[in-house]
């Protein structure tokens, strides 16, 4: 519940990180689509909500030449509408468009999606495939982490006390890298994914020269699958190679059974979705 909770909207990074560092129960508030649901349902106790929406360091989507920088406060709606995202990082745009519904996408931020650290976070697999890095700032100063080191477990991240995610930095991929994002949910909209998959493949002389496969919702954190990637490199994207990679992708998956689906179903879906993503890429490349 929020009775007894204070609300502050700091206007500088120092003020924000100071508040977060000195108050055990202080929680960052961005779009609020995770925090407010949890707080009002009594699943989270909060002494102070630190609304970060006035911090300029967390805003904007910028083309920095060799990389794209996405401020932590960027909403899904802004990601979908961004030229540079659609041009250079279409797999991220598709994932943003698939999240929740319009009302939620208008509030939900990319920083909030990462920091909430749900195993099924929409942004997890595409950011792993694009090899993004997370910019952090706080009482201990600035640092940068590869996205693969940011997620620590369900609801757990590498964020230190008093630290904020300021933005996501994504190296511009080679123009030949094509990325597909696919997800399976119980309903077309308004439901978190049972399994989500991002796959990136770059072909050269008819064979894969770069392959990246990332899975979400089938382990405590989203992760890359080198076993499946190795199957794709140096070989053409034929039906049999696709099938081999799709089956390979299941080996490291450790899904759970919950109210939405059984572990067996999720595992079967990994194969289906990886196959679907690869078929999509194979069709695009002819």
């Amino acid at each position: 519940m929020l009775s007894g909770t204070e609300y502050v909207r700091p206007s500088t990074m120092d003020e924000a990180s100071g508040l977060l560092a000195n108050d055990e129960g202080a929680v960052v508030l961005a779009g609020g689509t995770d925090v407010l649901v949890a707080a009002f349902a009594g699943r989270m106790s909060v002494s102070t909500l630190v609304d970060v929406s006035s911090l300029p360091e967390l805003k904007g989507v910028e083309d920095w030449g060799d990389c794209v920088w996405i401020g932590a406060l960027t909403t899904m709606t802004k990601l979908c509408a961004s030229d540079v995202v659609n041009r250079v990082l279409p797999g991220l745009g598709s994932a943003a468009a698939a999240m929740g519904c319009w009302q939620v996408r208008n509030r939900a931020t990319i920083g909030g999606n990462l920091c909430n650290a749900s195993p099924s976070a929409e942004m997890g697999p595409p950011l792993l495939v694009y090899e993004a890095a997370v910019d952090l700032d706080g009482v201990g100063g600035k640092r940068r982490l590869p996205i693969s080191e940011f997620f620590k477990g369900p609801g757990e991240t590498a964020l230190a006390k008093g630290e904020l995610v300021t933005g996501i930095r994504i190296p511009k991929p080679d123009a030949g890298l094509r990325v597909a994002y696919v997800r399976r949910a119980l309903r077309r909209s308004m439901d978190i994914p049972l399994v989500n998959v991002a796959v990136g493949v770059q072909m050269g002389d008819g064979v894969g020269v770069d392959a990246r496969v990332a899975l979400g919702a089938v382990a405590p954190v989203p992760f890359r699958v080198p076993v499946a990637e190795e199957i794709l490199v140096g070989r053409p994207l034929t039906d049999s190679v696709i099938q081999e990679a799709a089956e390979g992708a299941c080996c490291p998956a450790r899904p759970i059974t919950d109210v939405r689906a059984t572990a067996e179903y999720r595992l079967a879906m990994v194969e289906v979705l990886v196959r679907r993503a690869l078929i999509q890429l194979a069709e695009e490349s002819v």
Partner: protein, 170 residues
């Protein structure tokens, strides 16, 4: 718990409201401003009954904290009528049988308004996508989608100028 004064615009009127950190935009609208058109269904972002337009975009008022709405421009269902006359969109909801119990209608209409403001000639798919966060347990959605498409067609034919309330705030 600290009370704080915030200023915001609701349906074109500037207002100053004392808010607390546990107050949602939904509570501000319904209880402080006594605009009861906006409904609460689930209270957790799932049903869209509480949809209002905030700075031009539809949001769930149950997932916005009142203090977060400081300086915001809000339009609620009450903002669509002019001197008691319904907007074309509201009229089409009635005329096309898109309202049964009516509980989802304010939220549904606000999302549809935001869509039409952004895209005056949506396809059926655009309408279904835009409205996918608004649940209706009565109508089966067909007539709601019809109402939005008919409104778009009428506006396209230029009959909107004579209808008060359309193209207003937001």
């Amino acid at each position: 718990m600290r009370k704080q004064l915030i200023t915001l615009t609701v349906n074109g009127d500037r207002c100053e409201v004392a808010v607390t950190p546990d107050m949602r935009l939904l509570d501000l609208i319904r209880d402080e401003l006594e605009l009861k058109g906006t409904k609460e269904g689930c209270g957790e972002g799932e049903c869209g009954a509480c949809t209002v337009i905030m700075n031009g975009l539809p949001v769930n008022a149950c997932l916005v904290l009142a203090p977060q709405a400081a300086e915001a421009d809000i339009v609620t269902i009450e903002g669509l009528t002019t001197n008691g006359t319904m907007s074309l969109l509201q009229r089409q909801f009635l005329d096309n049988g898109a309202v049964q119990c009516g509980f989802c209608s304010p939220g549904m209409i606000m999302t549809a308004k935001a869509l039409l403001d952004d895209n005056p000639a949506p396809s059926e798919d655009d309408v279904r996508d835009a409205l996918s966060g608004n649940l209706c347990r009565c109508t089966g959605y067909e007539k709601i989608v019809d109402a939005v498409l008919v409104t778009a067609a009428l506006v396209g034919q230029g009959s909107a100028e004579s209808v008060p309330g359309e193209g207003g705030a937001a």
